[in-house]
Each structure stands twice: as C-alpha cells, then as structure tokens.
Symmetry: C2
Subunit: 428 residues, 2 copies
C-alpha cells in the first residue's frame, strides 16, 4: 500500500461510523473515477502542464523580482495557501503579491505605490476570462505596466492563466501576445490549486511543485487502495461530519491548524467545503438546503478567542485540528525568573512542543465538554505533506458530496448576485 | 443628540423587533452603567492613561523603527485591527509587528531573522502577567534583546502593558526597570482595544488615538441617549440577532466588511461576540449552552467562497455587512477592449463604486434567497468611525448578554484547557 502522508485520528469524535453508507459512497466515487468524471483526480496526470509551468516560472524568476497574482476565489486562495505554507527565501525566488480578490481602491493604491514595474510580472487568473474583480484590476495594472515599460515589454511580462480555448482573457492574450497557462477544463476552480492556477505562483516562489503533486498523488492512490472505510481517512472524516451534520451536532465544521504557516489552509478549506456542499437541491432536484458551515480557526491563537464558545456554547459544531509533529525551526524558552512560579515552569520547553501540548490539551478539553473533535496529523510541513493534505480534503469533499447526494462541483447560488451586479453596472 | 457615526440598516432582516424586551435590556444596561459596572464604558474617561500612552509612543517613535507587540487574544486582535484599518505611513512612524499569539517556532524564527535589535522596541501585553504564549515568547525575545544591546539598554526598550499592581509581569517590570502602561482593572481583555493595550501600538504607528476614543465616546453617548429601541443601532442589532438565534435562523452571525482594511475587524468581532456570549450557564446558574457562532468574512472576496452556501445552504445564519461610503483612494477601470462585451462594461467604473455595488447586490441576492441580512454603514474609514464601530459592537455585545441573560464578561470555559496544559508542562 502507498504510504500515507496524512493520518486521521478520530478517537475524540464520539460518533459511530456507518460502514455501509461509506462503502456505497466509495463505490460511487470509484466508478466516477473509472469513467473519468472526477476531474481533480487527473491532476497528477497533467505532466505537460506541470513541465510548462515549471519552465515558465524558472525563466521568469531569473529576470524578475515580483509576481503579482490577479485572481479571486479558487484563483487566489490556493496559491496563497501554498506560498504561506512553503515559501522559500533566497536568491532567484520571486516575491509573490496577491490582488484582485477584491476591488478595494485603497488596497490597490497601496500595491501600486510599492511596485517596481521594471522587475514585476503580472499573472492574471480567470478560467472564464470574464470574472469582474480580477479582470477589472487586471485592466488597471496592465494599463500602468504599459505606461511604465511600453506595450511590447509589457506583453512579455504578463502571464494569463485561463481556459485553453474560450473567453475574453484568452482572446486578449492571443491578441497581445501574452504567455498563457491552461486551466484544465475538467478541474473546477476550488479544486484547481494543484494545476497551473496555484502551481505557477508557487513555482515562482521557489516551491517544488513536483513534490506537491507527488504528495497529492500518493494520497489519491491511498484513498482508492484503502477499501476499509474505517481506515480510510478522507472517507471516515466525511462520514463523521455527515452524521454530525444530520444529528445537528455538526452544523458547523471548524478546521483549526496548529501551525502559523497553515493559517490560510483554513480559508482554502472554507471555500472548498462551503461552496462544494452548500446546495439548495440534491442530485434529484429535491430542495434540501444542505451544507455544513466551515469555519477557519488557528491554534494556539484562537484558544483565546473561540474556544470559550466551542467548549460551552451550543452542541452544534465539530472541530478538526491539523497537527504538525516536527517544526523546521527549533527554539526554546530560556530559563529565567526561577522565583516566579507563574512563568518559571516555561523555561526549557521547546516552542514546537508547547504548540503540540496546547493542541492536545484543547482536544482533550473539548472532549471532556462533550464536543466531537478529530485530528489530522502530518509529520512536517513539506511540499509532499501539503499536497497530500489538499488531496485529503478534496477527497473528503467529494465523499461528503456523495453522502449528502449533492453536486459538489457547481455553484448555482452565486448566479443571482452576478446578475444583479451586471444590471447595476450596465452590463448588456 | 450626538451625531451617529455608524448607521444600521436592518431593512433586509425580515425579523420583527420586540421593543419590550429591548427596553428591558436597555434599562438593565443603563442601571449597570449608573452603578459603574460596565467597565468598557469608562474608556473615554481614562484621560490620564491616554496621555501617558501618547507621550510614551511619541518618545519611542523618535528613536526606534519597529515595535514588536507580544500578546494574544484581546491583547493582540484589537491592536492588529486598528493598525490594519488606520496605519499611517511616513517619517517617524514605527512599523508594528505582532508575535506571541502563537508559539509556532517557525513564525518566531522568521521574525527573529528580520528584526534589527538596534531599532526595535518590545511591547509585552498580559493583564495577568502569566499568559503562557506571550510570556514564553517574551522570555525568548528579551533574552535576544539583552544579548544584542546589553541589559540596561534592553530594559529601556521594553514596555510592559499589564495590571497596575499584581502578576509576574508587573514584578519583572519593576525589578528590571521597564516602562509600563496599565490595563485598567475594570475592562476585560476583549473589550480592551481602546485602552493602552490597543492604543499604544496604534499610537506608535502614527494613529490618532484621541480621535479613536472620541469616536467611541460619541457612539456610547448616542446609545444611552436613544431610548427608542427601534432607532438604537446596537440595541436593534442585538435584538434581531437574538430572535434569529432563538428561532434557529441565526445560529451563526456572519460579519462581512466590504473593505480590505476592515478584514481584521471581523476577527476582533469574532472574539468579542463568541467569547462574551458563548456560555454554558445563564446568570441564574441554569445550564443553557448559549451563543451564536460568529464568522468573519470579507467582501467582495468571499462572494467567491462562502456566498454559495449562504444563499443556498441551511437557513441558520444572519449576515451583517459593513459598508464604507467613500474610500481614500480613487481609482477607475481604464476603458479597453470595447469589442469584448464580457469586460468592456467595466471601463470607467470606479473601484470603490464597484465594491459598493457588489455589497448591495450580495445583500439583495441574500434577501431574495430568504436570508436575513443587515448593513452597518460608515462614511469613511477614519479613527472616529473605527472607534465608533468598535463601540457599536461592544454595546451590541453587552445588549446581547442581557437578552441571553449570560455574563458577557467572563470566560470559564477556557479553564479546563489551561489546567491540562499546565499539567502537561509540569506547572506546579
């Protein structure tokens, strides 16, 4: 069996698994896989795209200092997550800035004030090529870049990540001669982090995107090899969330990494879980208004913000910790003030150990308060484990879609808002 | 009547107010105020502390470039919120860094690698003086500072914000000769942003803390002057949340500012609302397991992450937008690609207008999907309006505490976890 990079500990969940339901969900996913319907599972096979992404990043890294990524939602959260978790420092690595997930003029003005156009590359990301926020911001940044370095040089410093064939951004890219990277048609936005959408910014920041994809591949393979649902991490995770959701104990699913570098991982999960599973209708068209509300927290920080509520408030949420066994840096609390017992006990403890003690203590306290909680463990934060963690939650999302019987890959509920915005802005 | 800096629009809430309940909550708060029991209402009267904070910040700003704030929870979130919202750039302003809300060794190592000890001041913040995370980080940073500049100079560059009389940090500060600022005894951690806890870092960053406090004062006064609960913003807000909570329509309260500078405001609100109101017992000691779960979102970003779920998922959450009428920066989308209708309509629109159109459209779409939502409006992001916004939500929290009949000022649910941590770390 493929080695699992991610371990799921559910001993604090206090909810029995229903193996029959999980086996049925597993069979359904396995047959969708067989029919090539689960687009995100093809990620490890996108070898041409991976090589193209690596090559372009390597070329641009040599000459330029800053990459500005212009995207929103799935075209923004994934790359941010990778860079926060894995960014390398040092020669030849580009600084990566993100904009376009908003149209806040103050935020854009702040970025413009800091950019040096001589060493900046733009990466505009939109599958459809018509997304309001990033396309609006792109038009402004393109205009400034052209004014600063001229149209020809500007075109050489713009990378468009978009659909292979259609859409306004593809048209513009071809007309103006930008380099392009493809958004694979079969992979939806919120599942696209390990395609050129997320991988190109990651590669510019010096992250090994091959190792990322390798980690995801190992997790995908482990999932389909592990036919015992009780031992299958993503499947067991989905099954427990589903039962907690149905009983009302899990209206919300909190994800709480105990690692500063994984803070944004929570936001990535929030989109993945919320947008995939929050659906008005099931696959038969019946109105269900389903969906667990995902919440991103961070340990140990949120022990001093949200844990009071989680321990004592309504019995309506599950908490899933992400734990890291070993940290890259090792630092200890110096021994000092031996006569002050309130703090003397801290001396000599390593900070990584303290963080893990806090995680285990918080899990134990929640358990004693009768709150279901589980822990997803990785050994270290590496490209492989981050890729595997992402695959874990993509698989869990797909499994939860089966259990809730909803289409996890569309987003009909955002259309109304888009229509209203279009009308208010005079779109034809 | 005092001019209101914050306007609350509840036309999309679709929930009737119960004026009698609100009047009773108002009377209870008014009499607590009279008896001096609502500690946070005294903030505008802390004139000595304000002057002391201003003076010390002015002095340190002259000679030093960076302030490192070491705090967690209420000793961290408030200052971060102020600085993100209002930071000034330019000569004589200190860069403010935050650490100690976590004990992640990688995060600490990153900070240590970047600090220039010659121009750095430490501000350690802990009311009790015994908080694990910041005190652990403080002991390490103090050790490094002493090694870099010597014990005497180090002591002159440490500011301890702590209780006036007791605790380990007070003892250390007196023994080593640090400058100190007081955490007023009557103001709880999560209500402390407009005391030296949040105001000192803000002042170091060049923010007018007088204007902040003035804004809060105006909102406090407006609250107690406005006896019609239907027209009293924080009271009406609490009343609507309470009814939504009781009916199950508002198990969660989403706060979604449409302004990048107010993103952290959401996190500050999450602690305030969650930790104050998430309680196992009511004031009579009856088990209630009460509390709405607060969720921080950001517009327009989260339209592409969470709005699918909010529009189509379970009817279990309210959404409150924060809107800003005018932005400091004005930027427009350049007109381009007139032949591409998918994006040509964007040309000429101002980014601030787009952001407000998106907010109004999202509110309208939620309303059409039958989801209760309201909007808190400010004219511009200024120290006065940010101070007033903070006062608005502190007052709403106090009012919600009355409606739920819980003690909004304690946090008994975190004790179990602290005991377990202490035991695991060999604390006596």
């Amino acid at each position: 069996m493929t080695k699992k990079l991610v371990a799921y500990d559910r001993s604090h969940m206090k909810i029995g698994l229903k193996p029959a339901e999980l086996k049925s969900a597993f069979r359904s996913l396995a047959s969708q896989k067989q029919r090539g319907e689960l687009g995100f599972l093809a990620i490890p096979e996108l070898k041409k795209e991976l090589a193209e992404t690596e090559r372009l990043a390597r070329e641009l890294r040599k000459k330029h200092k800053t990459l500005v990524v212009i995207g929103i939602g799935g075209s923004d959260l994934g790359a941010r997550t990778l860079i926060q978790a894995l960014r390398k420092r040092g020669e030849g690595m580009m600084a990566v800035r993100f904009i376009g997930a908003n149209t806040d003029p103050e935020e854009i003005a702040d970025l413009l004030a800091e950019l040096d156009w001589k060493t900046t590359v733009l990466n505009v990301v939109s599958k459809s090529g018509g997304t309001l926020e990033p396309m609006g911001v792109f038009l402004l940044l393109r205009d400034r870049l052209v004014k600063a370095v001229g149209a020809k040089k500007a075109a050489a410093r713009i990378v468009a990540t978009t659909d292979r064939k259609g859409g306004a951004l593809r048209t513009i890219a071809e007309r103006e001669g930008y380099r392009t990277l493809p958004v694979p048609g079969a992979v939806g936005g919120r599942f696209s982090v390990l395609t050129p959408v997320g991988l190109f910014p990651a590669a510019c920041a010096g992250i090994s995107i091959r190792r990322l994809v390798r980690g995801a591949k190992a997790e995908f393979e482990a999932f389909f090899e592990e036919k015992d649902p009780v031992r299958n991490g993503p499947l067991a995770f989905a099954g427990l969330q589903h039962q907690a959701y149905r009983s009302g104990q899990g209206r919300m699913a909190v994800l709480m990494p105990y690692a500063a570098r994984l803070e944004r991982f929570g936001k990535w999960f929030v989109q993945l879980w919320g947008e995939s599973l929050g659906k008005a209708r099931d696959r038969q068209g019946k109105t269900v208004n389903a969906g667990q509300t995902p919440i991103a927290a961070l340990g140990a920080t949120d022990q001093h913000s949200q844990i009071q509520l989680y321990n004592e408030g309504p019995f309506d949420k599950t908490v899933t910790f992400i734990g890291v066994e070993r940290f890259r840096a090792e630092l200890s609390v110096p021994k000092a003030f031996a006569d002050l017992p309130e703090i003397a006990y801290l001396g000599g403890h390593r900070f990584g150990d303290i963080l893990n003690i806090e995680r285990r203590a918080t899990a134990e306290a929640l358990f004693r308060h009768g709150r279901p909680n589980g822990t997803v463990m990785i050994e270290k934060i590496t490209p492989e484990t981050v890729g595997a963690l992402m695959a874990f939650f993509m698989l869990a999302t797909a499994a939860m879609g089966e259990l809730l019987d909803v289409n996890a890959y569309d987003q009909p509920g955002v259309e109304e808002g888009k229509r209203i915005i279009g009308r208010m802005m005079g779109k034809g």
